[in-house]
Amino acid sequence: MRRGIVSTITIVSVLAGILWISGLAMTIQDQFFSTAMPPADTTKYTKEKKADSREIYIVALGDSLTRGTGDESGKGYVGYMVDQLRKKTTKPIRVTNLAIKGQRSDGLLKQLGQTEIQRQLKLANIVVMTIGGNDLFQGGEALRLTPKQIEQAKDSYLRNLDRIFQTIRRVNKDAVVFYIGLYNPFSDLGDAKKTSAIVRQWNFASAETAARYPNIIAVPTFDLFALHVNDYLYSDHFHPNKDGYKRIGERVASLITFTEGDKK
């Protein structure tokens, strides 16, 4: 009996050993002597059907604002917006947040060039986005730029924004895009007059760009933060806090209606 077990284990072990040695040989052959055969570069996505028509698919693009930096619950305005939308509709809502902290307009433009991002975008019914905050306030140390530099930053930003909208429209003709404007986080500081003017002009130019495309709506937030700005800002004095995000979220949600029933 015992002899049987020991012999079996020994034989099994020998066979296993041969198997592992062949694995090792395969490793050496594959890793050291094989020629590279990169997979075909063409991505052949199977034709995606438009997501379930009963489902509302929201894609969020942009920077830290869309990510929700500063909101301790991590929801950001996207989360609060969805909360509001859930009250309005019984359809399932699905969100994909593709925002990257610190992203600028050129980064977003590059991101939109990726196949998978485009695929997500194609499936979307609603797109919400924030961009430009990092172009204007270079990482929170804001507006130390001279008027000329700001003018330059604005020009290149507007060019990028135009191409961003163009890309979105090309990929997805129907989705409603909500472009969320900037607020002035420094409106309680000494040179508020100057900074506010800059932000206003920035927003105006962005809204003009948005207006060139169908179904891209510029949503202002400037007014939301005009009074008592500190109540709505996070401790970094730059990003909104929970209450700030809630207000943005509610504002965007108020623009989304489901009356037609076949809302795309």
Binding site: I9, T10, W20, I21, G23, D30, F32, A36, R94
Partner: protein, 326 residues
């Protein structure tokens, strides 16, 4: 000779070590299967979709966000960057690197077990092969028989090799069948990419080629076997040198654990790459993760390990045949 080997196998089997190992593996695999299952479920719940592309894209975005925060160590940044580029590559080529299934689980299990868990299992068998004979006094009985000392030691070593093969078979078998009950047994033909080379923060994809998963798993098992043999040989040498089994275990454990710790902090200490314990993660070269020290390659690591193994083997034979037994 075959009788000697049989005799040694008999000892190993009679000590019931192998059954203990089988039980440990079974319990751990079940545990990890459950953990993995939970993770997949949570991921689906969070994203509201089972579409792997969305999930992978979300992981990429998460990594990008982490990269943008200022309080992140250089090593971690490098690791994230490499992984990010790799995920991007998978996405661009429409290949799902983690399609659920038992073979995928097997692959991940081996990748995570290769530097600590598998060597520990090997140690359980190897640590007392010789030292127990010395401490128990049976070594005298063994050596008074009309066989050369070298042959006695060789038979023990062969028995060790056989046990290692058996242990790996157990791991492969159990991880396949237990996880398959949850994830399904499919997925052997899934294409995977290998040949990524991490160069600093860049990912070189010039050598990338596709492998079916069965081949990938077999390659990883082969590497795991190689690692286990080297660790087994080192333990075997200690077992010859040190009489107390506990001391052998202690030394080996210290070496292995220090290897796991060192891998995370040696990036600036270049000569550390000649230590065997930072070279154990051979599977990382197949999947394309950045090595702990720049300049390490699969060939390099295998050579280092082979040199350590051969040296250990030579030392054990020399010491064992020359030593006075009293």
């Amino acid at each position: 000779m075959s009788n000697l080997v049989y005799n040694e196998m008999l000892k190993i089997v009679r000590k019931k070590r192998l059954w203990v190992i089988v039980a440990i593996v079974a319990v751990l695999v079940a545990l990890f299967t459950y953990a993995q299952y939970k993770r997949v479920q949570e991921m689906q719940e969070r994203l509201g979709t089972t579409d792997w592309r969305t999930q992978l894209q979300q992981q990429i975005i998460d990594a990008q966000n982490r990269l943008n925060s200022s309080s992140i160590s250089d090593e971690w940044r490098k690791y994230l960057q490499i992984r990010l580029k790799q995920q991007q590559y998978y996405l661009e080529h429409d290949i799902n690197p983690s399609a659920p299934g038992a073979p995928t689980f097997m692959r991940m299990f081996i990748e995570n077990a290769i530097d600590l868990f598998l060597p520990l299992l090997v140690m359980v068998v190897a640590a007392d092969l010789v030292s127990s004979e010395a401490s128990g006094g049976t070594i005298k009985l063994l050596l008074t028989r009309p066989v050369k000392r070298g042959a006695v030691l060789l038979s023990k070593y062969i028995a060790l090799l056989l046990s290692i093969s058996f242990i790996l078979l157990t791991v492969a078998f159990l991880s396949y069948f237990i996880s398959g009950a949850v994830f399904g047994y499919e997925g052997w033909r899934l294409p995977l990419l290998t040949g990524f080379v991490a160069q600093g923060e860049e990912l070189n994809t010039a050598n990338v080629h596709m492998l079916p998963q069965w081949k990938y798993v077999l390659i990883e098992l082969g590497l795991a076997w190689f690692v286990c043999i080297v660790v087994g040989t080192l333990t075997f040498m200690l077992s010859v040198l040190v009489r107390s089994t506990a001391a052998v275990m202690g030394i080996m454990l210290a070496a292995l654990i220090s290897g796991a710790i060192l891998s995370n902090m040696v990036s600036s200490w270049h000569s550390a790459k000649y230590l065997f314990m930072v070279n154990l993660r051979l599977t990382d070269y197949i999947s394309g993760t950045a090595p702990p020290i720049e300049g390490m390659t699969l060939g390099f690591s295998m050579t280092v390990l082979a040199v350590w193994g051969l040296a250990a083997l030579a030392i054990s034979f020399i010491v064992f045949t020359k030593r006075d037994i009293y």
